[in-house]
């Protein structure tokens, strides 16, 4: 009998505000301990929280990006528990009235096993709420003591909760990756997983098809997609083994140990806190007017889902009809007619698509396919080889566009272009200057090409006769010889034409 896997995610994204969610202290990462802990972060007696509007705007941005309901009124609540890195003895969060309501995220799933094809899936988002981060307990820095660093205390978080819509580790990872890309795309989170800017809690349960949901266990604080994959695989197998050997699953919070690849229970439901949530009397309800929402909407960039449509669109009218008007703002509306495969790759992160747009604006949208081929080919390969991301690409979109123009107008051949590209990558410079310096300009003068062809045919009379008697394959030999004679500079299309004419002639 088979098992069905049910997975839901809770993701804590650190919002990219300069200051904390309830005070003016800096949120910069990596400062000396407690140098960014102001009176509010330390929770001195008498201090009060004041809500950072920038954090709210980032939450609104996210809500709009996933087509969610933005609550006209949401409420901050206190979550009460004692811990040394929680200075007030409570965390200010949102409980029954979160700022962002139901939304959805479309994901592309790359199955891990065998020959299964990539597919699309919609994951529903339950809610997203604003809250403050806690500080850090630093163990072992001082002998037998625990240090407290409150720099992180009060950093704004948006906790994004999904429905249990994922049914494999691959889907969970695809969702997390898509979300990770989206929060960076819309500029609300730097996505730095090593620094804890994007932390995932994964709820996993298994059941027999058709049966009610099984008991879930929550894997806390996964900060890499690889670990997420491993943790879910291990956990699913553990739950199945437990159930198949007659055991029961107890609700629990568990941790994944990357060294052993195992999950381990941290605390069971019985140890769960009673957080005694109640509305924070120090903060007014958060009211978001239509006007404010629209102002934030106007700052949203073109979203991945819209960009993908545009990259694939063949006809302008059709593209416009498909646009989701609730999230569409003024942006470059040039359509490219690319394949879905290319489009998916080009919207995987925002910088790549931006690069394509910049490049296509130089060479024209009818040549966008050429841009895409270069970006997904040479550019990606070189970036991978040098372990760089798009932002660090040594060749600007303008430089690449300039070079592609020379391919289009026939000045250089594809192989010449590759040499220009390599030079640009390592030494910089504009295409025209490199072509000039390296003498890569192709020969497009038909008289010159005819002369080369005539010489080749004259020197190989026997082969010409063979060709004419039906040995078509020899055509390649003539092309190669002529190209060699032109030192690779002959315009290949022209050379082909002339050769064909003279050989049949």
């Amino acid at each position: 009998m088979t098992w069905e896997i049910v997975i839901g995610l809770e993701v804590h994204t650190q919002l990219s505000t300069n200051t904390k969610i309830f005070s003016g202290a800096s949120t910069a990462f990596g400062a000396e301990p407690n140098t960014q802990a102001d009176a509010v972060s330390i929770a001195l007696p008498g201090v009060l929280p004041v809500l950072n509007k920038g954090a709210v705007e980032r939450a609104i941005k996210f809500g709009l990006a996933v087509g969610a309901h933005i609550a006209p009124r949401s409420v901050f609540a206190r979550k009460n528990y004692f811990y040394p890195d929680l200075p007030k003895g409570y965390q200010i969060s949102q409980f029954d009235l979160p700022v962002v309501g139901q939304g959805a995220l479309t994901i592309q799933v790359e199955p891990l096993s065998g020959n299964a094809k990539p597919y699309e899936k919609i994951v529903r988002i339950t809610r997203a709420h604003l809250e403050e981060d806690a500080g850090k307990s630093v163990h072992g820095s001082t002998q037998s003591m625990t240090g407290i660093d409150l720099n992180r205390a009060g950093t704004p978080l948006l906790e994004i909760v999904s429905e249990p819509d994922m049914s494999s580790a691959a889907e969970a990872v695809a969702y997390a990756k898509t979300l990770h890309s989206l929060v960076r795309w819309i500029g609300i989170c730097d996505g730095n997983m090593q620094e804890g800017s994007f932390r995932c809690d994964v709820n996993v349960s298994v059941r027999r098809p058709g049966e009610p949901l099984g008991t879930r266990r929550e894997i806390k604080n996964l900060n890499s997609f690889k670990f997420m994959q491993q943790a879910i695989d291990y956990e699913v197998q553990w739950q199945i083994d437990t159930l198949e050997s007659g055991g029961k699953i107890q609700q629990a919070t568990i941790l994944f140990n990357p060294d052993t690849g195992e999950t381990k229970s941290m605390r069971s439901k019985e140890d769960a806190h009673d957080y005694r949530y109640f509305p924070d009397p120090d903060l007014l309800p958060l009211d978001i007017s239509e006007e404010w929402k629209e102002q934030v909407r106007a700052t949203l960039p073109e979203l991945p889902i819209d960009r993908k449509l545009r990259f694939m669109a063949q006809k302008d009218e059709e593209y416009r009809k498909q646009l989701r008007h609730d999230v569409t703002v003024a942006f470059n509306r040039v359509i490219y007619g690319l394949s879905e495969y290319d489009a998916n790759l080009l919207v995987a992160n925002k910088e790549v698509g931006d690069y394509l747009d910049a490049c296509a604006s130089i060479v024209g949208s009818s040549n966008a396919k050429l841009c895409a081929n270069w970006i997904l080919g040479e550019v990606s390969a070189q970036l991978n080889r040098d372990v760089l991301d798009m932002m660090q690409c040594p060749i600007s979109a303008q430089q690449l566009g300039g070079m592609l123009m020379r391919i289009i107008d026939g000045t250089i051949s594809n192989s010449g272009a590759k040499e220009v590209f390599r030079t640009m990558w390592t030494e910089g410079g504009e295409a025209d200057a490199i072509i000039e310096a390296k003498g890569l300009k192709q020969v497009s003068d038909s008289g010159a090409i005819e002369k080369i062809v005539d010489d080749i045919l004259a020197a190989n009379a026997e082969k010409v006769a063979e060709y004419r008697s039906g040995k078509d394959k020899l055509f390649g030999f003539f092309v190669g010889a002529a190209m060699k004679a032109s030192q690779g500079k002959a315009n290949p299309a022209q050379l082909n034409d002339i050769l064909k004419k003279k050989l049949t002639g």
Binding site: A39, I42, A43, L44, P45, G46, V47, L48, P49, V50, L51, R78, N80, F82, P84, P87, K88, G89, Y90, I148, D274, R276, Y277, F278, P281, D282, L283, L284
Partner: protein
């Protein structure tokens, strides 16, 4: 000198009849002589006081003095004041020297006022007799065997005994008005949100409000002018135009409609208090006011509602006192949980622990709906009672406290009996309305009686007018206890 009004003291300072330093020294000497009998102050820092007075003298010399420049005030020890020990009446903060100023302190500093010291109070403002202070109970200057009321008992005793020109208090369920009544002084709790709570150590955030306590309504008005105003550091601070609370002081009271809630004159009110309050109402009629009977039907529920909501908020507000970052930490402990438990068990007093327990209970899973949510609903009904009442009257009057000052230790064993002494004041906090107490005579044992004046939202100027006209017609407010 000690009986002059704030206006008169300010005039004397500006006329150079006395310097601020001389005045501060006079008060410090007087405090040294009398405070041991009253225990009204927790902390005195004479050097800080005199340095402030010196600065005020410089300002006075330049002619840039404000109304309150150079006048010595006392501050309730609930306000964080930079460089001052700020204990909130608790062992938990026995060593906490604040690194910053509360908004109220900043306002007084900007006005050039001088801080004489920090006044005693019930621990974390939880109490109605000032007996819960870790620093010992305060004695009522009219009879040192009796309580001064609470929680602003130190302030009330200090003002009544002329140990400061005037002082600040805070009022969560009557903590300005009840001690003002029991010590024979004037005090006003403004509309919630009028005075910033920034730097005022929180008891119950949705109820706490700071206000002035002084020897007259006029003095209260001058202090309110300094204390009020929008503060962006307090999200519940109201954004309103600055107003002059003295503007209506002299207005005649002709046609004033006084509402008398029948629930305030029912069982539980002692005869001597009833008589003094009724005499005051008669005086108001002479001043041109008319009287209407009104009803505040949910008055009785205000105490149970308050003792759900205030402890609920307090249980959370006081969580930060954990011995980790500042304040008291138990000397011996085995692990983290033990450190928390011992520090809080030893650092908090009985009444504070009782309220933390109640608050934790009413917020717990399974009890929240029955207690906290239910109390919030009744809180709205109580506010509606007042809205309805103010359709028929301009101000509401009644007793501030059901009895005059009781003896020290008399109600110590019975918290419910103690809680009932706030029956007339608590509903005002639940509704967020402004409330005031002014002296209106003396009861048995020659102890002062307070008349409570409740106004509609933002009607402080009218309440002060109503109080001031009465104080022009009577002299209860200028009577002083024998101790001076």
């Amino acid at each position: 000198m000690f009986n002059l009004s704030l206006q008169q003291i300010g005039d004397a300072l500006r006329a150079k009849k006395i310097s601020s330093v001389e005045l501060a020294q006079l008060y410090l000497d007087r405090i040294n002589a009398l405070n041991p009998k009253l225990n009204a102050y927790i902390t005195l820092q004479p050097e800080t006081t005199l340095a402030q007075a010196q600065a005020a003298d410089v300002r006075l010399a330049t002619g840039k003095a404000d109304v309150l420049t150079g006048i010595p005030f006392a501050q309730k020890d609930i306000f964080c004041a930079k460089g001052w020990l700020t204990t909130c009446g608790s062992k938990m903060l026995h060593n906490f020297v604040s690194p910053y100023d509360a908004h109220v302190i900043t306002q007084f500093n900007n006005a050039g006022a001088v801080n004489l010291g920090k006044t005693n109070m019930d621990e974390f403002a939880m109490g109605s007799s000032n007996e819960t202070s870790h620093y010992g109970s305060v004695k009522n200057p009219w009879d040192t065997a009796r309580v001064p009321g609470g929680s602003s008992g130190g302030t009330a005793a200090a003002v009544a005994a002329r140990l400061c020109a005037a002082a600040t208090g805070t009022d969560t369920g009557g903590s300005i008005r009840q001690p003002a009544a029991l010590c024979g002084i004037s005090g006003i709790k403004p509309t919630y949100g009028t005075v910033s709570r920034y730097g005022m150590i929180a008891f119950a955030s949705s109820l706490d409000q700071a206000g002035p306590m002084a020897r007259s309504a006029e003095d209260c008005a001058l202090m309110l002018n300094v204390m009020t105003g929008f503060d962006e550091r307090d999200s519940t601070s109201l954004q309103r135009d600055k107003e002059d609370y003295t503007r209506d002081l002299a207005k005649p009271l002709n046609g004033l409609r006084i509402g008398l809630p029948k629930e305030f004159f029912a069982e539980g009110l002692s005869d001597d208090v009833a008589q003094a309050v009724e005499a005051a109402i008669a005086e108001y009629k002479k001043l041109g006011a008319t009287v209407v009977e009104i009803s505040l039907p949910n008055t009785k529920l205000s105490i149970p509602v308050y003792y759900v909501l205030a402890p609920a908020e307090a249980s959370s507000n006081l969580s930060r006192f954990d011995g980790v970052r500042y304040g008291y930490r138990a000397p011996d402990y085995t692990d983290l949980a033990d450190m928390y438990e011992k520090s809080r068990a030893q650092g908090f007093g009985e009444e504070v622990k009782r309220r933390i327990m109640i608050g934790t209970y009413v917020l717990s899973h399974g009890y929240y709906d029955a207690y906290y949510l239910q109390a919030q609903k009744i809180r709205r009904l109580i506010a509606q009672d007042f809205t309805e009442a103010f359709k028929h009257c301009d101000v509401i009057m009644g007793p501030t406290s059901p009895s005059t000052a009781f003896k020290l230790g008399e109600k110590g064993d019975d918290p419910v009996q103690m809680y009932l002494s706030d029956i007339y004041t608590i509903a005002v906090n639940l509704a967020g309305l402004p409330g005031m107490s002014i002296p209106c005579g003396f009861g048995e044992n020659n102890m002062p009686v307070g008349l409570q004046i409740i106004g509609n939202y933002f009607d402080e100027a009218r309440m002060l007018n109503v109080a001031h006209k009465y104080q022009l017609a009577t002299d209860w407010h200028s009577r002083a206890p024998q101790i001076i």
